[in-house]
Amino acid sequence: MQGLRGGEIMSTRIAMHPFFAEHVRGKEAIEVEGKDVGECLAALIKQYPPIEKKLFEKKGQLRGYLDIFVNGKSTFPDALTHPIIDGDEIRIIVFGAGG
């Protein structure tokens, strides 16, 4: 099976925050495919459509209380275009920075 970059497709694991549990039937992690974070989140939404409104504002921006980590590093401020390669792990962080 050929993948997006001509290689074998390897799925990427998205570690889900419990904040979203009700929208992913309680799963702690979801396997998706995509060449960047935006595509991976789109694949997640395809599997669990109600999560779209929880991840994105009306204008398609990530919710401001989310930061997407790839392999333990923040992808702010260019999360959606951050490239993903085989074996990467995506983690969604929920945080209220303001006070």
């Binding site: 419990p18 904040f19 919710r63 401001g64 209380y65 989310l66 930061d67 980590f69 333990g72 590093k73 923040s74 702010f76 401020p77 962080i93 929920v94 945080f95 209220g96 920075a97 303001g98 006070g99």
Partner: protein, 257 residues
């Protein structure tokens, strides 16, 4: 064990105290003993903005013994939709001065300590001298990591509150018992600024922080220890999530209960 105030036996309540705090003294689990414990307590409020304003007001109303408010900012017009201790006439004034002026009028029996300094890793240990509890009312994550590390090292509980838009979160960190801030959040977590916020979001989270503080200091009820309460305002959902301690945590990994 969670520290539940200091020895209150040497601090009798006055006749005025018994009247002033009557409605909360009536709460059976709190009573006069709870009131004495609040009277003995010294609470540091880190940040006196959206969260810090209602936290300071409710702690002062409740008869806390000493309040230290720490903030280096001055009042700006854009603060006034939510930072209820600061009014139009205060624009340009240091927030801690603006806050202390109102709090002293609200409850003159509270020992007010206003510190117009920026909290740093270098000065925070000094600010903690004599403090029983820290309220995290900051507006940025970087300072929260400083609060956390200082509190864990000093063994002082920290009640974290954070907000963004209509979302809010709160947890109570007890050094040696619960996961600490650094167990919960990666250090380089980042988001856009300025952040959107209504007045009601910090008001709600601040109320919950003071509820936690009252239970912790007076020694009754169950705390949000090891749990994060999220408020999802758009959906009017309150959800509580168990937090996990990171045994390899740089800050609390070696702290024993």
């Amino acid at each position: 064990m969670v520290k539940s105030g200091t020895d209150s036996s040497t601090s009798p309540l006055t006749e005025e105290d018994l009247v002033r705090y009557d409605r909360q003294i009536l709460y059976p689990a709190f009573g006069e003993e709870g009131q004495r414990k609040l009277r003995q307590a010294h609470v540091l409020i880190a940040g006196v903005g959206g969260l810090g304003s209602p936290v300071a007001i409710y702690l002062a109303c409740a008869g806390i013994g000493k309040l230290t408010v720490v903030d280096s900012d001055a009042v700006e017009l854009s603060n006034l939709n939510r930072q209820i201790l600061h009014w139009e006439a205060d624009i340009g004034e240091k927030k801690v001065v603006s806050a202390a002026q109102k709090l002293e009028k609200l409850n003159s029996t509270v020992d007010m300590n206003a510190r117009a300094v920026k909290i740093t890793a270098e000065n925070f240990a000094g600010l903690l001298e004599g403090v029983d509890l820290v309220m995290d009312c900051m507006d940025n994550m970087a300072t929260r990591f400083i609060l956390n590390e200082g509190c864990v090292k000093a063994g002082i509980p920290l009640i974290h509150g954070g907000i963004y838009g209509m979302m809010g979160e709160i947890t109570t960190i007890i050094p040696g018992q619960t996961p600490c801030f650094e167990c919960i959040f990666p250090r380089d977590v980042e988001g856009k600024k300025p952040f959107p916020v209504f007045g009601f979001t910090p008001a709600l989270i601040a109320s919950l922080q003071v509820m936690e503080a009252t239970k912790l200091l007076a020694g009754f009820g169950e705390l949000l220890a090891g749990k994060m309460l999220y408020v999802r305002g758009e959906e009017t959902i309150f959800m509580t999530v168990d937090l996990q301690k990171n045994k390899a945590c740089r800050v609390c990994g070696g702290v024993k209960s």
